[in-house]
Amino acid sequence: MRDTPLSNCERLFLLKAIEEKKRLDGRQTYDYRNIKITFGTEYGCCIVELGKTRVLSQVSCELVPPKDSRPTEGIVFFNLELSPMASPAFEPNRQSELLVTLNRQLERCLRNSKCIDTESLCVVSGEKVWQIRVDVHVLNHDGNLMDAASIAAISALSHFRRPDVAIQGRDVTMFSPEERDPISLSIYHMPICVSFAFFLQGSYLLVDPCEREERVMDGLLMIAMNKHREICSIQSSGGIMLLKDQVLRCSKIASVKVSEVTELINKALDNDRKIRKEGGKFGFAESMPKERITTLKRDKAPVEMTDVKETASEIVNRTETPTEAVDSPVLVATGTAQVGEGLVNSWGLEEDEEDEPQMTEDRKRAGEVMVISDSEEEEVVILNQEAPKSKKTSKK
């Protein structure tokens, strides 16, 4: 099913905001969204969350005969899948251009950069080698799939352990994880992809575009780099003309971002290793936040607080001194029955019985606090005309 098209107003709004250096979620031009990396109970399973974009990658291995042209090297196979779970625009069996682009870029980034030592994957030269298969599934599409996929793939590869093998002549015995500890892959470096989106004929650029920004962008530049400042792959799509100094500037920004992300991956791997050694609980079940009704968990929303202090002091200075402290302030509480001053509620409705303990509690707690209800079935008249709160009269 096709995605709902972007309206003209939204498009204009996004472009105008970008001209004023403002982004929809309040980020700066070179800011990444929150990256969260979690590992599963199996070795080689990793979920990466880049803001709302979620990508799962799973690494598995198998003993196979090697390619004829390279008898002493193992095989690494990448597969990225876009399921309709990620976005209504992805159809189940359609080979879209985006899918091909992502697959090719992932292969270029990880295979051509030779980040994995394929010679160490050889078991019996010419006969048996390890085939490492990396499956990347996109769980939710909120922009910048390539970055999330590359982080997920390299984290999963670094996390993965393959079974130990013993060679006797031409016999190969594979040990299960209980018999012998599995061995991790030998990875030379971690190439990470950084995406730059260009707008308005290349005059404005944004790092890590979200889905809305991707819809209005003119072109995309993807630079895959490792923390040693080596560029592994660079690709520009969308047909925009880029100047030399723009590309150089992007590569400098990319090197900064890649070192941050590599540090994050290493920290996540260390944490996972530590928890497994100590025997604690690990896996996805532990890292998902508990969704209970009593807990209210939200991500921290960025609020512009630059001149809060001045504005607050201004408001304070401007307002007049408040009237004398009122003995019985008027509290508006919904769902409670009316409590008059000294009056007993004579309506005799069912709700009163349940509210009475609460009513008396309120009275005990607040002293002479008058509680006004918002219930539609009672006539409420406020006796206290000079109360600072707004007047509320509701009639049946």
């Binding site: 099913m1 098209p5 309206s7 512009e304 539609e376």
Partner: protein
């Protein structure tokens, strides 16, 4: 910049007389067995599973004599001939436009089904085909009527009346198509000072009431004059009311929208979006609607 903070409140739901008949509604989810009786004909939203009639969508079971169908609560728009829709042009093709109408397939607006600007009646020539983009471009909003339904479910639209055509300045609100009540007319000039088009496909268009109709317009003249602040406030308030009504699954028609607007006048426009105030307003609206019917 001031920050608005509110604590969550506990609400006591007061049941209205109108909601007691909810118990008599037969609600189903996909996979629920509706009946094991084989004497019924199966309609939309059902399928036969080992001689038992099972629901394939989540909604309410409707029975007309021997026909059982399930009307889903949230669904893509299924077009009927004669429906008024509000849609957005997505493509300009040879001799037709593709219109996005929140249905499973994009709807089609043929060049021969629109009024030419100036209102003349003649055969569409090759020049008309080349000038299609001058009439309607990608991203434009139009109001149209469903002329017919193709065999695959795609709709064929027409704007062969002066009240249909390109929409100018206004606000679009997207709601679920099942919430828009089928009525005689979907174009209303509300007494509060704005006009509304309730598209059957769930797209509701709010716009300032036009001053006087331009006869030669032919549906393409869109006034770009600035809209006054009072009109804009009315439209913003209506938009928030529509969001409140759709969040509480109230059927949308001119009376319900009007009652909601009047109930909301005591609050500020931006306060209508707060959940607790939304509940208050909807409660009042529901009460008034019950009185109005009863």
């Amino acid at each position: 910049m001031a920050v608005d903070m509110r604590l969550p409140t506990v609400h006591k739901h007061i049941s209205l007389a109108s909601q007691s008949h909810l118990d008599s509604k037969h609600l189903v989810v996909p996979g629920d067995v509706i009946t094991s009786d084989t004497g019924f004909m199966r309609g939309h939203g059902t399928y036969m599973d080992e001689e038992r009639l099972t629901a394939s969508v989540a909604g309410e079971v409707e029975r007309v004599n021997k026909l059982i169908c399930v009307k889903p609560l949230k669904t893509r728009y299924n077009g009927e001939v004669g429906d008024v829709i509000v849609g957005r042009i997505t493509e300009v093709q040879q001799k037709r436009w593709k219109v996005e109408t929140n249905s499973r397939l994009d709807s089609v607006l043929l060049l021969s089904s629109v009024n030419l600007p100036g209102g003349e009646l003649r055969r569409r020539s090759a020049e008309d085909e080349l000038a299609m983009r001058d009439y309607l471009q990608e991203g434009d909003l139009i109001s149209a009527e469903v002329q017919s339904v193709f065999s695959d479910g795609a709709l064929s639209l027409h704007t062969r009346s002066l009240k249909y055509g390109k929409l100018g300045q206004g606000v679009l609100v997207l709601v679920s198509p099942s919430l828009v009540k089928r009525q005689k007319t979907h174009f209303h000039n509300l007494p509060c000072g704005a006009s509304i088009i309730l598209g059957n496909n769930g797209y509701v268009w709010l716009y300032p009431t036009p001053g006087h109709q331009d006869e030669e317009a032919g549906g393409y003249y869109t006034s770009m004059e600035p809209v006054s602040l009072s009109d804009r406030e009315v439209i913003s308030r209506l938009r928030n009311c529509l969001l409140a009504l759709s969040a509480h699954k109230v059927l949308l028609y001119d009376t319900s929208v009007l009652y909601c607007y009047e109930s909301s006048l005591t609050h500020q426009i931006k306060d209508i979006l707060k959940p607790e105030i939304m509940e208050q307003i909807i409660l009042e609206t529901r009460q008034r609607l019950v009185e109005h019917e009863g």
